[in-house]
Symmetry: C2
Subunit: 193 residues, 2 copies
């Protein structure tokens, strides 16, 4: 039922989603939904909660499962893959968060922006630790690097098709891109040591 709601919120937006459409999708009548959820607001809130908790728990667990001697870059690799795996597993929920967060009532939006920011701060800290340990070049602003990394990773829900490349392949190409870069020889950056 949450999954049906997420799908329809994505297709029609918050205001465009009707309780009748969600009810149809799960084989009920509109009035019956109110037995399970007291309002449309609490429905979208449940969808948004499911995503942020699902993704952040998946990432925190993946890092906690690493051996004690793991480098910061090992942690970043594990976080990238876990983020990728969970965000695609929660497909429609992730799209709902991406597209309708700006349309939900303000008190719900504020709560989720806070949760999302806390997750973003975790990434900043991870990159900062890597930089302090000398694994990441000092010239990078970690907040900027974090937004690029999460921006690229999150965009996968827009196009990923399970019939194509595996998530492991996608993740490992991305890790190679952010660690070593695209270029064989540096063309224009004079900052390289």
């Amino acid at each position: 039922m949450l999954a049906a709601a997420a799908k329809i919120f994505v297709e029609r937006g918050y205001a465009g989603t009707t309780m009748r459409a969600i009810a149809d999708d799960v084989g009920l009548k509109a009035g019956s939904l109110y037995y399970h959820f007291p309002s449309k607001e609490l429905l979208i809130e449940a969808v948004l909660d499911m995503l942020i908790h699902g993704v952040s728990n998946a990432v925190y667990s993946a890092i906690a499962a690493l051996p004690p001697g793991a480098t910061y870059f090992d942690r970043i690799k594990a976080a990238v893959q876990a983020h990728l795996d969970s965000i695609t597993a929660y497909g429609e929920y992730a799209l709902a968060s991406r597209r309708v967060l700006s349309q939900v009532p303000p008190h719900i939006r504020r709560k989720h922006v806070r949760l999302r920011d806390a997750y973003g701060d975790f990434w900043c800290q991870l990159l900062q630790n890597g930089q302090d340990a000398g694994e990441i070049r000092g010239e990078f602003d970690v907040r900027l690097a974090r937004t690029f990394i999460l921006g690229a990773l999150n965009s996968i829900v827009e196009w990923y098709n399970p019939e194509g490349k595996s998530l492991d392949e996608v993740g490992s190409q991305f890790i190679r891109l952010i660690s070593d870069g695209l270029c064989l020889q540096t063309q224009g950056s004079s900052q390289r040591p």
Copy 2:
């Protein structure tokens, strides 16, 4: 008027945007809007058109303005900066495209997906040329690299604040990230020559 429409489409979604709200924002009454635009559908279409044409023209012009001897990586750098500059210049239009495209009537959505795909193909070709010329490592799938790059660049409209870093600084950090990578020494990639 288009700018007001873009802003409200982002805040409320397609269905949630009322002609009254747009009219209010520009100091008119709802009925008067129909003198300028025949329907809500054509309003969102004009907003979406403005963005895709604005961004792609900015990028194509930036590349056309390069000297004849420019490397492919010079072209990529110019495209990154022009994309970044134009997407932030069209702020609300870009957000509208990101968030409400999935909610507009199908015939309008299909047309814009086609335009967006054509622009994506241009990026693929750019990266492919760079790879053929030996400037980009052969191990990368150019389609994947393109989606990561555009995903990261497009996410800037979600957080960019003109009071912080300049767009030139943001662009140059991003270019350094995709060209050289984050890492001082490669930690886990055995594919490096």
